[in-house]
């Protein structure tokens, strides 16, 4: 409401500014019809907005003026100077009242009575002009916001994107020329300005999600009336901000979901009463920001979705066989909602139709890089969660090579990259097509080389040499397939722009981008690729594959095994490795007391076990704990992914190495990631005091999954404890790794709280304060006996 009021005030003031000229011209020539019309329109608009905003007094004043103007237009009254003055006085008064509203002052209503009276009596002549107190212009507040056309904002955004691209180009040139320090300093300053500008313009394009939600109360009211249902709408988080383009893209999916919820979800009052529910159904819509994503939840307390019924429908429609449906879990069955042509309603309705919808909603949400998930309990309701990025224009993508060309795929579409060299998969020819066997999964293969390259046939022997990696992707229509590519280059954040119609007509491209190397790049559309390759995938395959991969991941964590700079063979947990970087030594230097790598506008602390060479390139592992990033310099040889050895001999002293294991007859040292992050990621790290053998169980809850699995758990295990994440298990000690109070209550002896803040509050520990954590562990357990 406050926003609407502010908008009204801004609009009124702005129009007053523009029509003040008209008013003067009209005063000079009251016969001028066009001028009269624009004055009338202004007063009419003000009246309308006032009615909407419940500003009764202002509405009355403008209504009187409108009446007089209307009479003038119809020729019922003559524009005598007295009447003109009276109308002008009212218009001035409207401006005054708008100012008073903005300042939150009381409006003195008594002034207006003589003004209104003057309107109605001034036909007689100019003798009765009331005296108006003209003090308006002196203390009118300067406007705190201006209204800008959207095109201008878009142009600005485009300009800034171009600026970023030119800066990248310049950075390349500078690096090539080995320019002196002063140039680099100047360039760095410019880079910072560009980044700042990009942030500012992104922010300027942000709109409150309120504008998306504003239409919902009316929609819900109309629909429930039509359907004979009674529904209360609860909206939460209207102040969350989102790119305005994103808001437009979400409008249709959201409307669709609300229609569905009202039509199919919420029961009519009679049925609700019969089931012991309150008469009024409740639809809750909430939005909140988490990181650079927005979560929107739509929950109803209706009848829920019957998973079994969905399964039966799928069998009836012939999408699935009965056996497959029988083998599916509840969650997979529920996901069938997103399949085209599936619905559990028995009747067709005018509101949301039947059978079409959720598949369209899902593909719309995924088109903008979002995800959608559904939860439902029969009889209790359905909850849909949408997760969408803040902006559309910048897409993280993987760049890869096919023969001599480069293409990109949005990272959100990629599931996994498998190298064919390592013997981890093989290709089989079945009925003229190719299927990749990866860990017992059968995944159809699309050879981009032959698809985009033209002449060579799939059986061409030379091609096997060229195509060395499988990128397993999942399209927005849930097809899962592998793209065979020659080389995988890099992850990059791309500013994606639409391609010309002549290119889009191919149906396999999503847009163009200019990456850091300055050569135009095509972004592939995975759904288009799948249909262009003629892939028709059985749903059952897709579903089964899902389950297998997820089991695979939980069964054995992978490790990256590599030759370190001092010649030793070392390993690190794969989940921590973000990517491998080949950086020029000149990019690494001693800055702020530590070795740091300058990489894409950020500085990353570098850990190395042997001195770096004077020149050339260094291979680095970029490690992330979900929050902080460090780079670990490794030898230039090959790095292999393998299963993490199960048995480790722990190291004698805590340090960079956590323990040693034997892999294929060779000793491999496992890096202690917790130690590395505590020592190098900027937090104040200290040496730990030795360990004590004991095997009590420790429950870890809250916090971010990656961190507690990959960093905290190894630390606790290393100290000789058992770690569990299962809250139903008994544990001697609970570690609450969430910054919030995941475990409620204070002063509980067996709860230990960790914080990401280096100066944690009372009763909390900084999560990289190794000594304190280990000491506290011992102290608490000792107290318990």
């Amino acid at each position: 409401m406050e926003d609407l009021l502010a908008e009204f005030i801004a609009e009124t003031r702005e129009t007053l500014g523009t029509i003040s000229g008209e008013i003067v011209a009209w005063e000079a020539n009251p016969e001028d019809r066009a001028r009269l019309d624009s004055v009338f329109r202004f007063v009419h608009t003000v009246k309308g907005s006032c009615g909407f905003l419940d500003l009764t007094h202002l509405q009355r004043v403008s209504h009187e003026a409108e009446n007089a103007l209307s009479d003038l237009r119809d020729g019922k009254r003559e524009p005598t100077p007295g009447l003109v003055s009276a109308i002008l006085a009212i218009i001035d008064r409207i401006g005054e009242m708008a100012d008073a509203l903005e300042r939150g002052e009381e409006i003195d209503e008594t002034i207006d009575e003589p003004l209104i009276a003057a309107l109605n009596t001034s036909d007689a002549g100019d003798a009765m002009l009331p005296i108006i107190n003209h003090k308006t212009t002196e203390h009118r507040n300067p406007a705190r916001s201006i209204r800008v056309p959207l095109e201008l904002l878009d142009r600005l955004m485009g300009g800034v994107s171009d600026l970023v691209l030119s800066r990248n180009e310049l950075s390349r040139q500078i690096r090539r020329m080995n320019a002196d320090d002063q140039v680099e300093v100047a360039f760095d300053r410019m880079s910072a300005c560009v980044a700042e500008m990009r942030d500012a313009i992104t922010w300027a394009r942000m709109q409150r999600i309120e504008s998306l939600f504003a239409a919902l109360p009316r929609l819900v009211r109309d629909l429930s009336a039509e359907l004979g249902k009674s529904v209360t709408l609860e909206i939460d988080g209207s102040d969350v901000e989102l790119d305005r383009e994103m808001i437009e893209m979400l409008r249709d999916p959201l409307t669709h979901i609300v229609r569905n919820a009202l039509d199919h979800g919420i029961e009519d009052p009679l049925e609700r009463q019969k089931n012991g529910k309150p008469c009024d159904g409740v639809l809750r819509i909430s939005a909140r920001q988490s990181g650079n994503q927005i979560q929107i939840r739509i929950a109803d307390d209706g009848r829920g979705i019957d998973q079994r019924k969905l399964g039966d429908r799928a069998v009836e429609n012939g999408n699935l066989t009965a056996d497959v449906v029988k083998a599916m879990g509840d969650k997979e069955l529920l996901d069938l909602v997103f399949q085209p042509g599936l619905s559990t309603t028995d009747t067709v309705s005018t509101v949301s139709g039947r059978g079409v919808g959720m598949d369209v909603v899902r593909s719309n949400v995924e088109r903008i890089g979002g995800t959608i998930e559904i939860e439902s309990v029969v009889g209790e309701g359905t909850k849909l969660s949408l997760l969408v990025p803040l902006t559309l224009t910048i897409i993280p993508a993987l760049i890869f090579g096919v023969r001599n060309n480069r293409y990109a795929i949005p990272r959100s579409n990629i599931e996994e990259i498998v190298s064919l060299d390592k013997g981890r998969s093989r290709i089989e020819q079945i009925g003229g097509t190719e299927i990749a066997m990866i860990r017992d999964d059968r995944i159809p293969v699309v050879r981009l080389g032959s698809m985009l390259g033209g002449e060579a046939s799939p059986s061409d022997a030379t091609e096997y040499l060229e195509d060395r990696h499988l990128v397993i992707v999942r399209s927005s229509r849930r097809e899962r397939f592998a793209i065979m590519v020659s080389a995988v280059f890099d992850h990059e954040e791309l500013v994606v722009k639409p391609a010309a119609p002549g290119i889009m007509s191919a149906g396999i491209y999503a847009g163009t981008a200019l990456p850091d190397n300055g050569m135009p790049l095509l972004l592939l559309d995975t759904a288009g690729l799948a249909s262009a390759a003629g892939l028709t995938l059985l749903l059952s395959n897709v579903q089964r594959d899902d389950r297998q991969t997820s089991e695979e991941i939980t069964a054995a964590p992978d490790a990256l095994i590599f030759g370190d700079r001092d010649g030793c063979c070392r390993a690190i947990r794969m989940a921590l490795v973000e990517r491998i970087i080949d950086a020029d030594v000149s990019q690494i230097a001693e800055r702020a007391g530590a070795l740091r790598l300058v990489w894409n506008n950020e500085t990353v602390p570098v850990v190395t076990c042997a001195p770096l060479p004077e020149s050339g390139t260094v291979r680095l592992l970029r490690l992330s704990d979900g929050n902080d990033v460090i780079a670990y310099a490794i030898g230039s040889g090959a790095a292999d992914v393998g299963p993490l050895p199960e048995i480790f001999e722990p190291a004698v002293r805590p340090g960079r190495v956590a323990g040693v294991a034997v892999v294929a007859g060779e000793p491999v040292e496992l890096l202690d990631a917790h130690y590395l992050f505590s020592e190098f990621s900027g937090g104040a790290g200290r040496q730990s005091n030795g360990l004590q053998p004991a095997k009590p169980r420790c429950l870890v809850v809250g916090g971010d999954d990656l961190w507690r699995h990959e960093l905290l758990a190894p630390l606790i295990e290393l100290a000789g404890y058992d770690v569990t994440f299962d809250e139903t298990e008994d544990a001697a000690l609970v570690i609450d790794a969430s910054d919030a109070e995941y475990v409620a209550g204070e002063g509980q002896d067996n709860v230990m709280r960790l914080s990401a803040n280096p100066s944690p509050g009372k009763d909390k520990f900084y999560r990289y304060d190794r000594t304190a954590i280990v000491d506290a562990l011992h102290a608490r357990l000792k107290a318990k006996g």
Partner: protein, 144 residues
């Protein structure tokens, strides 16, 4: 009303293009191919910090496969907010013509018919006026 035209040559034929549609003329370099695009699309190229779609002008006219060589001149035009580089063999001149283009007779081949708005006379020679917008969306190319 006087109108400026850029006179260019492609495939041995001279033609004119209204200059108000033209942004600049650049030299083709690093044209990235776009497989499966419409046949007159020769690829993508970078112009300052923009991506331009390179069109083989002759391919758009007679439907042959597009090919653009390094060093060919690209006439950069903006159509529907997209930047295109129209590859031509040679740029001759800019000339002025007072008269509106005369409609083409039936004698012209269908390829030319589709992309031109008419004919003008420059220094005694008749010349086809090419419409860049028609050139980049030429249906002739798709049919071929």
């Amino acid at each position: 009303m006087k109108q400026l035209y850029l006179v260019a040559e492609a495939g041995g034929t001279r033609f004119a293009m209204p200059t108000d549609a033209i942004g600049s003329v650049v030299t083709a370099s690093d044209v990235i191919p776009v497989p499966q695009a419409a046949s007159m699309v020769a690829g993508l190229s970078a112009l300052r910090s923009n991506v331009i779609t390179v069109i083989d002008t002759m391919a758009a006219i007679d439907g042959r496969p597009a090919s653009v060589e390094e060093g060919q001149s690209l006439v950069v035009v903006k159509v529907d907010d997209f930047l295109y580089g129209l590859a031509v063999d040679e740029i001759h001149d800019v000339c002025e013509c007072a008269e509106a283009p005369e409609k083409l007779g039936a004698a012209f081949s269908p390829g030319w018919q589709q992309i031109s708005t008419g004919m003008i006379e420059v220094e005694g020679h008749p010349m086809v006026v090419v419409d860049p917008a028609a050139l980049v969306t030429s249906p002739q190319a798709e049919a071929a």
